[in-house]
């Protein structure tokens, strides 16, 4: 089987690159950490990869809006390469700061193919502060997103100060009708949080935690699937360990977040785009 190649973007205050590369490897991809300037200088080419991940972090310290400056550099220096990467079937995943970058480039929601225009924003959390907490996410089964196929619900951490999903009503309506909303913050029973804090940790409209583009190959989300790569990442795992032991059940091994990356790798394989 030919290898699936993933590029994890680094530089300028991005972080989460090591664990993202680790999870991609767990999911079966060959992951490479690549500095943004290596792409701009053409030392590396996007065309050599199948998956692009822009991970979490504080690119340019989040000054002038989270993800804004990185989005500008991507748009003006790599805009065409990015659009052609997506057009040729490449997958793009933006996590946290990466999501902020994707909405600021206009790759998300990407209503009009090949055109970059900003339609949605991720603004300051309603609570007014950075928060690190685990949230319960539910996935939209009707979404075209290739990363989340077959996924129903999952606990993941959020770690951000600017994650409130905002768009004007007509944009929200369009996102809903095209099923581009991929995941939402939810209550323990699986119902959407309905704006309740802290289940919806930032006040996102429609409890939106992540959206995709119409092709389903570009996904942005605030929660961190790469941070749940092993079952011991979950805050309740020591409790879970006792429950499993006493019921004679095997312990889980993998964290639920890995599946999202495995879906991406499988998609690339099944496309035969290799």
């Amino acid at each position: 089987m030919t290898e699936v190649r993933a590029l994890v973007l680094t530089g300028f205050g991005l972080n989460c690159d090591w664990e993202t590369a680790h999870v991609l490897a767990l999911a079966g991809a060959r992951a490479e950490r690549v500095h943004l300037n290596q792409l701009i200088s053409k030392a590396k080419s996007l065309a050599d990869y199948h998956i692009l991940v822009i991970g979490g972090g504080f690119s340019w310290a989040d000054e002038h809006g989270a993800g804004v400056i990185l989005a500008m550099r991507l748009k003006y220096r790599l805009g065409e390469a990015l659009l052609s990467f997506i057009e040729k079937g490449g997958l793009v995943l933006g996590i946290c700061n990466g999501f902020q970058v994707l909405v600021n480039t206009g790759l998300l929601p990407g209503f009009e193919t090949g055109r970059l225009s900003r339609q949605v924003a991720l603004i300051n959390n309603d609570c007014g502060r950075f928060r690190d907490q685990w949230v319960h996410c539910v996935f939209e089964t009707a979404s075209p997103c290739v990363f989340t196929r077959g996924l129903k619900a999952m606990d993941l951490p959020v770690r951000h100060g600017e994650g409130k999903f905002f768009a004007e009503p007509e944009v929200l309506e369009r996102l809903e009708s095209t099923h581009q909303v991929v995941l939402r913050y939810a209550l323990a029973d699986g119902r959407p949080a309905g704006g309740a804090f802290p289940e919806n940790p930032n006040g996102s409209l429609h409890d939106i935690a992540g959206i995709c583009d119409p092709t389903g190959r570009v996904l942005g989300l605030m929660p961190h699937p790469e941070a749940f790569h092993h079952w011991t990442n979950h805050p309740d795992w020591t409790w879970e360990k006792e429950r499993c032991r006493r019921r004679g059940l095997p312990r889980p091994r993998e964290g639920a977040g890995v599946q999202l990356f495995r879906n991406a790798v499988d998609y690339v394989r099944n496309q035969g785009a290799l």
Binding site: H35, Q38, W60, E63, N125, H229, N233, D236, R246
Partner: protein, 1004 residues
């Protein structure tokens, strides 16, 4: 041309920052502001054309979805009563401003002129409020701005100029000074002393004759004449002052203590606390433990993590700067301590940060006026560490907060950092580093300004409009994160022969110290890149401007090193080279300005001397309080849970990214609601391995009021138990000692109890030595900060000296062999058995229980390692066998508080029979519940493990307290079977979660 760009959220969007401001105004002052909006302002002084300005406004600085912006005043459109503008003073690090320039240059695809500048600031619009000008000025001064780094202006709606708005304010540094090198007269000791005072050199009077003798030596004069020097230059004396400072030289810890026990009259001479109590035990332990790789010399200590990796750890404090400017001081503190692992060995990758704050009471309303009120100070340091850690991409994994009125004089901000490096780099041990003669000296990272020169003593100096506010700095984690990533790549390519950070003392410290390793150094100070012109040469040499490292690179690797630096956009400059001349040789535009023999720094400088007088607690008049047994145990417990030093700190830790890097195994906050502090945090720094690293901290300043010996004992014993409680190994524990002490030099007027404080320091060090040897804990790193004293204004124009309690924060690490064996403290399942391990004694001295009633007491908790260790080994083995479902080291607040926290975390009830608690002597119920005896654990055990558990611990002090129950009520019976406590767990949790009972302070 200068323009002002203003940016606001669209009016129909919720302004979270404005909402938070209204909340703080209510919390701090009790005043009502219905709504507030925040405008972002960028003052641009550039050569951009009108079209270019418009393009950057729309393309970079305005989000069309959420924002509006204009070069005209935006506030005019808002219905505000008051507008407050807050901006930086000249020379304060403005990361947003420099990022703005970077973005503009990037967008225009052309470099900007070096005169182009961008300054960011904010306007706060207060809407629908009935405040008068003095109230608004209070908000500006006490909440929004700090005079030391910021300037502010208040505008009332009725005198708002709709066309000019706040006007154009450019906080530009203009020094208009031609750099000079001065020579200093040394004809007599008195003359040099006077010059030292006048120039704030702070030379120690005892050092002055040694310095004079050196410069008057004939061979020194002869050699100096060859390079055009005669009398010492200001650059040289500044370098000497810096190298001899207590901060860099640890003169106090290396001092000679004449210790006298005034009770017995016995006298002991203690020569060098560092050597006898820190170095000697650590070296002895290093000889026994092969995992101790590199200690006592580098920026951080290094220990083996596994066959292929070392972890490195160190701790720091940033007390004085944080006391003056809480946010900037703490931010600079955490970002600064992160440079230590980066500069350890050939450089390590950061994997964790820790914090500890000691501040005055949050609700302080007394007569003293510290520069910042404790509440604001705490908010500021919390946010500073948050931004420094989060933006660095390093998980902040564990922390402490301790309130005491003695910290009103000076707060304590502890920060610690852990890094990881491969065992070898290019076949060489990674912990080795040594500059060679011929290696190029590179300054990497930020530029040099008047930052941190002569510390914070200048805080009361008056400011002119364009003088840089140099002594307090704002760290820039963004610049440092870029440098961190770059240096690791350079390291892995084998390009680095030596690396160290520029922290205290700047280049003087980093190059001065590394020159000793290479045998000499020559530096051209005119090559050092500056933030602005006009710095004197000595200022360039000693400036503490942040985010800089000093790196040695072999000439043949220079091109590749610079190529990598360019890729990462990290500024690097070759400023000199190492050479085997035995000299520190500094030049400025080709002219020698310093020429010092390195051997001079090893001259026989007189040792500092301290008188240390000790009296036992009894002879100091301490007694146990006379107090009868209470009846309302439940009420006492509930109130203790809500007290400032025990209540929930979720609000702090939730703001810290503690999971970045994906290494989190045991989080600091655990339990069903994920808000109860666990004993320790556990990381899995190598994601492909099941090996873990546990880390914890403890401090017990209140015990020091009785005896600092037992204070240190308690902290170290608690750390050991906390690490065992998560699954740590006793044989692989390392420690970091962090002393913060008031001044110990006796002065009949200024420091009348200096001799007692000196004795307290000696005793604390004795305990450190004894405990480290007893438990086998090498000190991987450590730090001492003296002078924790403040002189605070009172109500009548007088000032009061307030000395902080002697404080030692202990940080400890341990290896966890298999992370899946790790435990947390929350109750797990109904029907599990609850046990207490270890003996409870009447040890309420310095306890939370006594403190609640205003007592200190006498019976301080004491450690007995010989008795404790066998039990600890048994706990270690029980964890490995999987016999425990949860484990808690009992600490502050005793069995009652820790039992309650286990129940709160598990949201389950318990039935306890206090009669089962192993005790020494006859103890009252209150003593059993609240005594803080060391050496104890609370554990829960699954029913099927009960038999194995009991036989495992046979022979140890062990008590089966009862069972965990589904019904969430905690019931405790005394020996007679009487119910002494019956509290719903929900109610206990509610009391504990109540965030500080402090009300608003009005115009405090």
């Amino acid at each position: 041309m200068a323009v002002r760009l203003e940016i606001a959220l669209k009016p129909h969007l919720f302004d979270a920052e404005g909402f938070e401001l209204c909340r703080k105004i209510r919390d701090y002052f009790g005043w009502h502001v219905e709504e507030a909006r925040v405008l972002r302002v960028i003052m641009l002084e550039t050569g951009l054309s009108a079209e270019e300005l418009e393009a950057v406004r729309t393309e970079i600085f305005t989000n069309p979805v959420s924002q509006v912006s204009s070069f005209q005043p935006l506030a005019t459109a808002f219905d505000f009563q008051w507008a407050i503008w807050v901006g930086y003073r000249p020379g304060v690090r403005d990361t947003a401003g420099s990022v703005a320039l970077e973005a503009i240059a990037d967008y225009l695809r052309r470099p900007l002129s070096r005169h182009d500048a961008a300054y960011t600031s904010k306007v706060f619009l207060l809407q629908r409020c009935s405040l008068d000008r003095s109230q608004v000025e209070t908000i500006a001064r006490e909440l929004l701005a700090n005079d030391i780094i910021q300037q502010w202006r208040v505008f009332a709606r009725h005198d708002w100029n709709p066309d000019e708005g706040i006007g154009i304010i450019l906080p530009k540094v203009e020094l208009r000074h031609t750099p000079t090198v001065e020579t200093i007269a040394i004809e007599s000791d008195e003359e040099l002393k006077a010059l030292s005072d006048a120039r704030h050199l702070a030379l120690n009077p005892q050092d002055i004759p040694v310095i004079r003798r050196y410069f008057l030596r004939p061979e020194v004069l002869r050699e100096r004449a060859l390079v055009g020097l005669n009398r010492p230059t200001d650059v040289e004396l500044e370098a000497i002052s810096q190298a001899r400072s207590d901060h860099c030289n640890h003169n106090t810890f290396r001092g000679l203590f004449l210790y006298k026990d005034l009770d017995s009259g016995q006298e002991t001479v203690v020569n060098n606390l560092f050597k006898t109590c820190i170095e000697a035990p650590t070296l002895a332990l290093q000889a026994q433990k092969d995992w101790v790789v590199s200690v006592l010399w580098d920026n951080a200590g290094a220990a083996r993590f596994d066959e292929d990796h070392l972890y490195v750890i160190t701790g720091e404090t940033h007390n004085s700067p944080s006391t003056m400017e809480a946010y900037g001081g703490a931010l600079t503190g955490i970002v600064g301590v992160y440079r230590d692992p980066m500069g350890t060995g050939k450089g390590s990758r950061l994997i964790a940060g820790l914090y500890g704050y000691c501040v005055g009471p949050r609700a302080y309303a007394g007569p003293l006026r510290p520069h910042l009120h404790p509440r604001r100070l705490l908010d500021g340091v919390v946010e500073g560490v948050r931004d420094g850690g989060n933006k660095h991409g390093v998980p902040t994994v564990f922390g402490n907060l301790f309130h005491h009125p003695s910290y009103l004089g000076k707060c304590l901000v502890f920060v610690a950092a852990i890094g990881l490096m491969p065992r070898t780099i290019g076949g060489e041990p990674s912990e080795h580093k040594k500059p060679n003669p011929g290696d190029i000296i590179i300054m990497a990272g930020g530029r040099v300004g008047k930052d941190g020169i002569h510390g914070v003593t200048a805080s009361s100096e008056s400011y002119s409009e364009h003088t840089p506010a140099g002594h307090v700095q704002i760290g820039d984690p963004y610049t440092q994160k870029k440098m961190h990533d770059f240096l690791l790549e350079a390291r892995d390519e084998g390009l680095i022969t030596f690396i160290t950070d520029n922290g205290g003392g700047g280049l003087s410290s980093s190059i001065g110290e590394s020159a000793h390793l290479a045998g000499g150094a020559r530096v051209a100070l005119d090559r050092v890149p500056l933030k602005y012109e006009g710095l004197d040469v000595w200022e360039i040499w000693v400036s503490e401007s942040q985010e800089r490292m000093t790196v040695a690179v072999r000439p043949e690797n220079l091109d590749r090193f610079m190529e990598l630096a360019a890729l990462h956009e990290v500024e690097c400059t070759a400023i000199g080279h190492y050479e085997a001349t035995g000299k520190l040789h500094l030049t400025y535009h080709g002219k020698t300005c310093a020429y010092l023999d390195l051997s001079f720094f090893r001259e026989d400088f007189p040792q500092w001397q301290f008188e240390a007088h000790w009296r036992s607690p009894t002879s100091r008049g301490l007694t146990e309080p006379v107090m009868s047994e209470p009846t309302a145990y439940g009420r006492i417990l509930t109130e203790l849970l809500g007290s400032p030093n025990l209540c929930s700190r979720e609000w702090i830790h939730r703001q810290y990214d503690h999971e970045v890097q994906g290494t989190s195994v045991i989080k600091f906050l655990v339990g069903r609601r994920r808000d109860v502090p666990n004993d320790a945090a556990v990381l899995r720094p190598v994601l492909t391995s099941r090996r873990g690293l546990a880390v914890t901290q403890a401090l017990h300043p209140t015990y020091g009021q009785i005896d600092t010996y037992h204070m240190v004992e308690a902290s170290i014993d608690e750390c050991v138990r906390r690490l065992l409680a998560v699954g740590g190994l006793l044989d692989e524990m390392g420690g970091v000692d962090n002393f913060c002490w008031p001044s110990i030099q006796y002065d009949s007027k200024q420091n009348p109890d200096g001799r007692y404080k000196a004795a307290q320091l000696v005793r604390a060090n004795w305990a450190l030595r004894d405990m480290c040897l007893a438990y086998g804990i090498p000190l991987l790193s450590g730090k001492d900060s003296m002078y924790v004293d403040g002189h605070l204004p009172g109500l009548y124009g007088e000032r009061h000296k307030v000395s902080g309690l002697p404080t030692m924060l202990f940080t400890a690490t341990s290896i966890v062999e298999d992370i899946e064996q790790c435990l947390t403290m929350d109750l797990k399942m109904p029907e599990d058995w609850v046990y207490v391990l270890g003996t409870t004694r009447h040890e309420l001295g310095g306890s939370e229980y006594y403190e609640k009633f205003g007592y200190v007491g006498l019976s301080v908790p004491k450690a007995d390692p010989e008795k404790f260790i066998p039990l600890y080994r048994a706990v270690e083995a029980a964890v490995r066998k999987g016999l425990l479902a949860s484990c808690r080291a009992v600490g502050r607040g005793g069995l009652a508080v820790h039992g309650a926290l286990m129940a709160i975390a598990g949201e389950l009830g318990m039935d306890w029979d206090l009669d089962a608690v192993p005790v020494e002597g006859h103890l009252s119920t209150a003593t059993v519940l609240f005594s803080e005896s060391l050496g104890r654990f609370l554990v829960t055990v699954a029913p099927e493990h009960r038999e194995a558990f009991e036989s495992h611990f046979r022979g140890f002090p062990l008590g089966c307290l009862g069972k965990v129950c589904e019904r969430p009520v905690w019931t405790v019976r005394d020996a007679s079977g009487r119910v002494v406590l019956e509290e719903p767990v929900e109610a206990l949790g509610k009391a504990w979660r109540f965030e500080g009972a402090a009300g608003p302070l009005g115009e405090w």
